[in-house]
Amino acid sequence: MISLYRPGSSPIHRLPAWVKLLALAAVLLAFSLLPKNLWVASFSLVLALVLFMVAGMAPRDFLMNTWKLRYLIVVIALPQIFLVDLATGCYNSIIILGGLLMATLVTITTKTSEMVELVKRLTRSENFALLIGLSINSIAVVGSIASGIVESGKARGVRPSAVRQLTNLFVVSLKQADDYAEALAARGVEV
């Protein structure tokens, strides 16, 4: 499974995941306490840009991630400009953009496996770790069942209805889940 992680060795990459998450929460909280004006909003955007650079991302990456959020900005800004006022509309859209970019940065600088590790450590449960492991594996298993069903449908020359294929996907997947349970039992897993 590919992940959103972008490899790198910057200081931000090297920070432990929990530090990054705490820092993000602190920054977002701080902004909500600061006065709501355009200076503060713009500062959040500048901060996001600086953090992207520190993480070794090119300005292009920053712009690309911003571009991905373009509709969001339009949706936020337009109604507010009409319903409330121009300044509030701009403040809200910029501050949200800054926050989302910083959250994105945490995601793309932290290995998925490290995040999973953090979640496991927080829950301190072996069974939870098992559930996570099985789930990640199941994404691939269901994916191959689904593509098999789609292929078989096409290969027959007559496409079965969506409901039939969907039902088949659930039936075959749930049967595999029971085989999976058997394999776990055989391995001596007790929960």
Binding site: Q80, T167, L174
Partner: protein, 184 residues
């Protein structure tokens, strides 16, 4: 009710994480920008209906944890922290409770025909329980007034009604193929 998990529940919950993911990859349709019509909710509904209340909710929770930590498995391949702080975060939270409510309704109406009890469950859990936090969060996070947001959200009723019908058909299909698969 005791929240106990048997060994068999583990892979069943896990396989639903896979199923919800697979359905999220069905190309999403953007009627309104940012909040897509997605087949993902079909997976959420069936998680509640097939696995039952707390197991269904757990499947959705794990799916979202995996998305949160960076797997691109949400609607149209999104994932990561920003998907949750973004405008659809409320729906995502609603999914967890929605699956729970669906399972609960079906469990509380054991005498009713499964088609009927699941329809009631899907409406209460798959629509009401998902829309409430969804609408509140869209309104709050985007700083928009509640009423127009709620009205705008009505467009999803069409898609979600179709998904309810699909979910009932799939549920009946699983039952007729192998009723053991619905036993928990």
């Amino acid at each position: 009710m005791r929240f106990e998990l048997k060994l068999r529940d583990y892979p069943r919950i896990a396989i639903f994480v896979g199923l919800i993911t697979a359905l999220s990859f069905v190309p999403a349709l953007y009627l309104a920008p940012e909040v897509p019509v997605t087949a993902q909710t079909l997976g959420v509904m069936l998680a509640g209906a097939v696995l039952g209340s707390y197991r269904g909710a757990l499947a959705v929770l794990i799916y979202e944890i995996l998305a949160l930590v960076g797997l691109p498995i949400l609607a149209s391949g999104k994932g990561g922290l920003s998907a949750f702080t973004g405008p659809t975060g409320g729906y995502l939270v609603g999914f967890i409770f929605g699956a729970y409510v669906i399972g609960l309704v079906i469990e509380k109406l054991p005498k009713l025909n499964i088609a009927l009890s699941s329809i009631i469950g899907f409406i209460l859990g798959g629509i009401v329980t998902v829309y409430i936090p969804g609408i509140l969060w869209v309104s709050y996070s985007l700083g928009l007034p509640l009423i127009p947001v709620a009205q705008g959200n009505l467009v999803f009723l069409i898609g979600d009604s179709v998904k309810i019908i699909l979910a009932v058909l799939v549920l009946l299909g699983i039952k007729s193929a192998n009723p053991k698969l619905l036993e928990n």
